[in-house]
């Protein structure tokens, strides 16, 4: 898993890459929690370089999504979702729940 974050003016951009399986998903969860703990609840995750994601990854995304949206303080939005990952989100009914965008710029601009 590769993860880098950029604090933008209106949101935090997380660029995620590699394989997000059950062995690294907890690390993704703690990175996202750290962003929220610093008071930033508007998050964009660019998924372009994610090659694999299982339910362990989805659980962390769902937890962070719920954390961001609590008390209407923010949202977690996805950008540039690769086809394989898109299929997993679709199968689990998450595609209609997460706001997602074709480009990173659109996702960042949506906040």
């Amino acid at each position: 898993m590769e993860l880098s974050t950029v604090d933008m003016k209106r949101c935090t951009l997380v660029r995620l890459g590699g394989r997000i399986d059950g062995s690294v998903a907890p690390e993704l969860g703690s990175k996202l929690r750290a962003i929220m703990d610093s008071g930033r609840y508007k998050i964009v995750i660019n998924m372009a370089d994610v090659t694999y994601a299982s339910s362990a990854c989805l659980r962390e995304l769902i937890n962070a999504w719920k954390g961001c949206r609590r008390w209407n303080r923010g949202d977690l939005r996805l950008a540039e979702i690769p086809p394989n990952i898109d299929k997993v989100l679709d199968l689990t009914g998450l595609k209609t729940q997460f706001m997602s965008f074709a480009t990173e710029a659109e996702a960042v601009g949506s906040f």
Partner: protein, 154 residues
């Protein structure tokens, strides 16, 4: 029917998952399984192994095996463990149409496993423990004859 069959034995920790995934990826490559199907097989296998590690063995570690078998055009992945008996009927299927806020956590792994392959069978016996067989149809494109098959009838 000739069968290409390889088996991986792991200690049973979450940190073993990348090894399992590499094994499935390599075997898919050898069997000529193309990208979307190879992704599905990796996903189903990880969900199965995560269940074994976290539920059958309760996260405490416990050896299990993953077998990859090419049966003509079909691929079968068999996961065997000796942990707690797994009862798939005890896991409610998640309603993926319900808004996230109202959904209980969990159940997605088994659901994804079932969505990713064509057959899922769970068996338990006191002698052999849990056996999970997952089969995906019509995905292998390279004849097992190209690869020396391990004649393991155990």
């Amino acid at each position: 029917m000739s069968v290409l069959k390889h088996e991986l034995r792991v200690a049973g920790h979450l940190s073993d998952l990348p090894l399992v995934m590499d094994f499935v990826a390599e075997m898919c490559h050898q069997a000529g399984v193309a990208s979307p199907a190879a992704f599905d097989l990796q996903l189903a296998t990880e969900e199965a192994c995560s269940n074994v590690i976290q539920h059958a063995y309760g996260g405490a570690g416990g050896e299990f095996t993953v077998s990859f078998e090419v049966r003509g055009p079909d691929v079968a992945i068999i996961v065997r463990d000796r942990g707690r008996r797994f009862d798939p009927d005890a896991i409610p299927e998640p309603d993926v149409t319900v808004p996230l806020e109202e959904r209980p956590v969990g159940g997605l792994g088994l659901y994804l496993m079932r969505q990713s392959v064509d057959e899922v069978r769970f068996d338990f016996s006191a002698e052999n423990g849990n056996t999970l067989v997952m089969v995906k149809h019509n995905v292998a494109t390279i004849s097992p004859a190209l690869e020396p098959a391990e004649q393991d009838d155990a």
